[in-house]
């Protein structure tokens, strides 16, 4: 395959960026999208040019490190996967591919396609945990949990914190990310104990960090590589409201 790549280049957070055009030839349809970028980078190095910075790590779709807006879609045109699992067979020979970083005020660009997502860490630090110390906990089978509840908790816990939801949302809202954590813990008796406190603290932190409001367009769910349902946002809203009513 021969391709034309339109890639966002930006030296650092303080500079403005721009698109550069690169041509790349003889790409096997069986390689991954990031392997295609590896090849481009190796070519750039050999011709004395700066390689393109992009985040990636596990390349198995689980660590959440890779990002990229590809042809206007978070994680590219395929569904249910992250960028690292996208393969070139999803593109056509001769196609122009546009590659951009996440676009969200809460995720400033560090360089080229790399963004700063520490705001997600900060939201979880505000309350995305069960307050138990190590040791002195009951036997694992002491609290039976119904399989449907446990399964639903796991559905929400599949979130990889990649940032696609906030980067896709026209309001730049992190609601799906927050909801996934709140909902996962709310479905379990261990997490219920401090459910109200958690929902309030995480939503407040999200607002403080400059993420926008949710207007229920469902764009986040559509682009989520792990198919986290916006049903979890409804549960977050219930948790949040009942917390407010208790105040």
């Amino acid at each position: 395959m021969n391709l034309k790549l339109k890639i966002w280049r930006q030296a650092n957070a303080k500079t403005t960026g721009k698109f550069d055009i690169y041509n790349i030839d003889n790409i096997s349809p069986d390689i991954s999208f990031l392997e295609m970028l590896d090849i481009l980078n190796n070519d750039l190095i050999h011709s004395g040019k700066e390689p393109i910075a992009f985040d990636h790590d596990c390349r198995e779709g689980i660590c959440g490190m890779c990002s990229l807006h590809i042809n206007g879609h978070a994680h590219g045109p395929d569904s249910e996967i992250t960028t690292c699992q996208l393969h070139m067979r999803k593109f056509n020979d001769g196609e122009t591919i546009t590659i951009e970083p996440w676009r969200s005020t809460a995720f400033p660009v560090i360089k080229d396609l790399v963004v700063d997502r520490t705001s997600y860490d900060k939201i979880l630090q505000a309350g995305g945990f069960v307050s138990v110390n190590t040791g002195g906990v009951p036997d694992a089978n002491a609290i039976p949990i119904s399989k449907p509840d446990s399964d639903e908790s796991m559905d929400a816990a599949a979130c990889i914190g990649c940032g696609a939801c906030a980067a896709t949302c026209k309001n730049g809202s992190a609601m799906l990310f927050v909801a996934a954590r709140v909902s996962s813990l709310a479905k379990l008796p261990q997490g219920k104990v401090e459910g109200a406190r958690r929902a309030k603290a995480m939503v407040a932190k999200m607002d403080e960090l400059g993420f926008g409001n949710c207007s229920n367009t469902g764009a986040c769910e559509a682009e989520c590589p792990k198919l986290i349902s916006i049903g979890h946002i409804a549960r977050l809203n219930r948790e949040f409201l009942s917390a407010k009513l208790q105040d």
């Binding site: 069986d30 390689i31 910075a53 596990c58 660590c63």
Partner: protein, 647 residues
């Protein structure tokens, strides 16, 4: 050089840990507040250790090379975590988990450490459930288990195919709680480039801020390495792209000796290599061997038709299939340990029965299980793995069997540690995959997660107190000392030098070359000849690196090329030590297979008289031969035997 002392407690094995805990020192809450600890790495080991130490009241700085602690490669572990709960009433026990682990490791691990691991395994499950980890459950609401290789009981707890992710999110949540309380400070996108030793003790680190390139100094009363394994020395492995061995290697150069560096785990069920442009390999969880059957065709004509895509695997009739693991190992069948399964796949492929165009693949088939249980059940168990397989290969594994081949996955070797998990440098600890201690020459499936969390939650927080109790009079570490100055100068000079070389080969070009040498000469089958060749070739490649590498950009910016160059510089030294260790060990054991030493059936042949020891290497200079020290392994509870998975 200090004498090697494992500090293994005396007395009966089952009482050693309790005895030890009763005799080691503790630090009072008021003094804990005055003590600083550095934790390097945020995987299961690092995150759990930092959280537990923070809860105890120490001041902790935790570093990771990614943008968030949650990215650590523990997250990619799929299948599960072992514990001796015996919830299935199948006669499991602490002793049986201990025994399986020692046997699985081919009798090259320390009994006392492994027994302690089995003993604390149950606490881990309790802890994770309390944190809200959504382990799989039965309809009655209690926890479910599955089986893993090298064991005849079902002791593996799991969260779909994402157990590592869920356990890491649990540890990361505990860590976040401490960060919010201010006991732990998180430093993401920071890479540790050196350990600073003052008066013979670990007193701090030098970190490179990966966003700005700034070299920063951090002091502490103890330093914990939780940096994972060094499988990426092979270039292609199942490890994450950023996983590296550099912290352990820099520590080695400062006196923290490395143990059994040649012990590498080659995992049998990975998606085969597709071409020269491949960047990494993808694991298909061992849990698939619960329901998947491994086979190649019996007839060469079927092999040829399948390779030519003229026949589908599903069209090969039952009697023409060679389920070679079930044939060779009737008692364990498809659930033999990883090293055994990998070698058996290699044996069939070497004999010409490999089923893809490269001849390096075997089938993992779910037809029998789908017929027995239905597609929905199989989907419920492994849905995400099947989806991942299809996205990568474009083949639907519900209809056609998966193709798999062994790949580098885990390193059992690592920093030598004593029973307290302290390296040969006082005040410097190593936990999880980064140390050598628990898995001998082969790790059993679902035991890496167990060890990471055992070390981090339940071992290190106790043992580090014994050391820190002697540090309560120490002042805050002065990072303006000459030791920090010298270390910083060395690091800065090295970085500056790499940019001045301006050669013709990229870091990746050179890394691929190293990977080739390692896979061909220090891979699944090793010989005296191949290892001697590796020593020569790695040295030559190292010279080429320092003469001909091309590192773009500059230091004072976000620069992934300098990150990779620094890691490769260390791999080019570490690879040589791995070859040297493999050459020294004139026996086959676990994942270390020397072709010269095998039984008539092709199984690993140990030499217990000569090699029942941990090989511990002491650094003497980059181009000087290291000194070999030996820690004799004493088997007082378990009798040494040839491993048998046949009956």
């Amino acid at each position: 050089m200090a004498k090697i002392d494992s500090k293994t407690p005396q007395g009966p094995l089952a009482e050693q840990w309790s005895q030890h805990k009763a005799t080691i020192k503790v630090v009072s809450p008021a003094n804990k507040r005055k003590l600083d600890v550095i934790v390097i790495g945020t995987g299961l080991g690092g995150a759990s250790a930092a959280a537990a130490l923070g809860e105890l009241g120490y001041n902790v700085n935790i570093f990771c090379i990614s943008d968030s602690p949650r990215r650590a490669h523990s997250i990619a572990a799929q299948g599960g975590i072992n514990a001796a709960k015996n919830y299935q009433n199948d006669n499991d026990s602490v002793y049986r988990l201990f025994y399986d682990t020692i046997k699985g490791g081919d009798y090259r691990a320390r009994e006392s450490n492994v027994y302690r691991l089995a003993e604390v395994s149950n606490l881990i499950i309790d802890q994770c459930v309390a944190q809200g980890v959504p382990f799989a459950r039965e309809y009655g609401g209690l926890l479910d288990n599955r089986s893993f290789g090298g064991s005849q009981v079902s002791r593996t707890f799991y969260a779909r195919g994402q157990t590592g992710q869920q356990l890491l999110l649990g540890a990361y949540a505990a860590l976040n709680r401490q960060i919010s309380k201010g006991t732990v400070t998180s430093l993401p996108r920071h890479e540790i480039l050196d350990i600073v030793i003052v008066d013979g003790k670990a007193r701090g680190v030098l970190a490179r801020d990966l966003v700005t390139g700034e070299i920063k100094r951090f002091g502490a009363h103890a330093v914990v390495m939780a940096t994972g394994g060094y499988g990426n020395v092979f270039f292609l492995s199942t490890n994450a792209m950023n996983s590296n061995g550099s912290v352990a290697w820099q520590a080695y150069k400062k006196g923290a000796m490395l143990a059994n560096p040649c012990f590498t785990q080659i995992h049998p069920t990975c998606i085969p290599v597709h071409g020269t442009q491949q960047s990494k390999l993808t694991l298909m969880s061992e849990s698939l061997r619960n329901d998947g059957r491994i086979w190649v065709p019996k007839k060469m004509e079927d092999v040829e038709l399948i390779r030519a895509k003229k026949k589908k695997a599903s069209d090969v009739v039952e009697e023409d299939r060679d389920y070679y693991l079930e044939r060779r190992y009737p008692a364990f069948g498809n659930l033999v340990p990883r090293d055994v399964a990998s070698r058996a796949a290699k044996e069939r492929c070497d004999a010409g029965f490999g089923v893809n165009e490269t001849g390096l693949a075997v089938f993992l088939d779910f037809k029998t299980a789908i017929n027995r249980l239905g597609q929905d059940t199989i989907k419920g168990r492994y849905g995400n793995l099947f989806q991942m397989y299809e996205k990568i290969t474009d083949v639907n594994p519900y209809e056609e069997p998966m193709m798999i081949y062994p790949a580098v996955h885990y390193t059992m070797g690592g920093s030598w540690v004593d029973y307290n998990l302290m390296t040969s440098v006082p005040g410097l600890y190593s936990i999880g995959e980064a140390n050598f201690s628990d898995h001998g020459a082969n790790r059993l499936g679902a035991s890496a997660l167990m060890q990471g969390l055992a070390d981090g939650y339940f071992v290190l927080p106790y043992t580090i107190g014994d050391y820190l109790a002697k540090e309560i009079q120490s002042k805050k570490v002065d990072t303006t000392s000459k030791e920090f100055d010298e270390a910083e100068k060395t690091v800065k000079d090295k970085i500056a030098h790499l940019f001045t070389i301006k050669g013709n080969l990229s870091v990746d070009d050179l890394h691929k070359k190293l990977g080739n040498i390692m896979w061909e000469c220090v891979g699944m089958a090793r010989t005296k000849e191949s290892l001697e060749r590796a020593l020569v070739e790695i040295k030559a490649l190292r010279k080429e690196f320092w003469k001909n590498v091309k590192v773009m950009g500059k230091n004072d910016e976000f620069n992934q090329e300098i990150e990779k160059a620094l890691r490769l510089a260390d791999f080019l030294e570490l690879g040589e030590l791995m070859a040297r260790d493999a050459l020294n060990r004139e026996e086959s054991c676990g994942g270390h297979f020397r072709t010269e030493f095998q039984t008539p059936e092709g199984e690993a042949l140990r030499d217990d008289d000569k090699f029942t020891y941990v090989a511990i290497w002491e650094f003497n200079g980059v181009d000087a031969e290291p000194t070999l020290h030996k820690e004799a392994l004493k088997f007082e509870t378990i009798k040494l035997a040839q491993r048998n998975y046949k009956d």
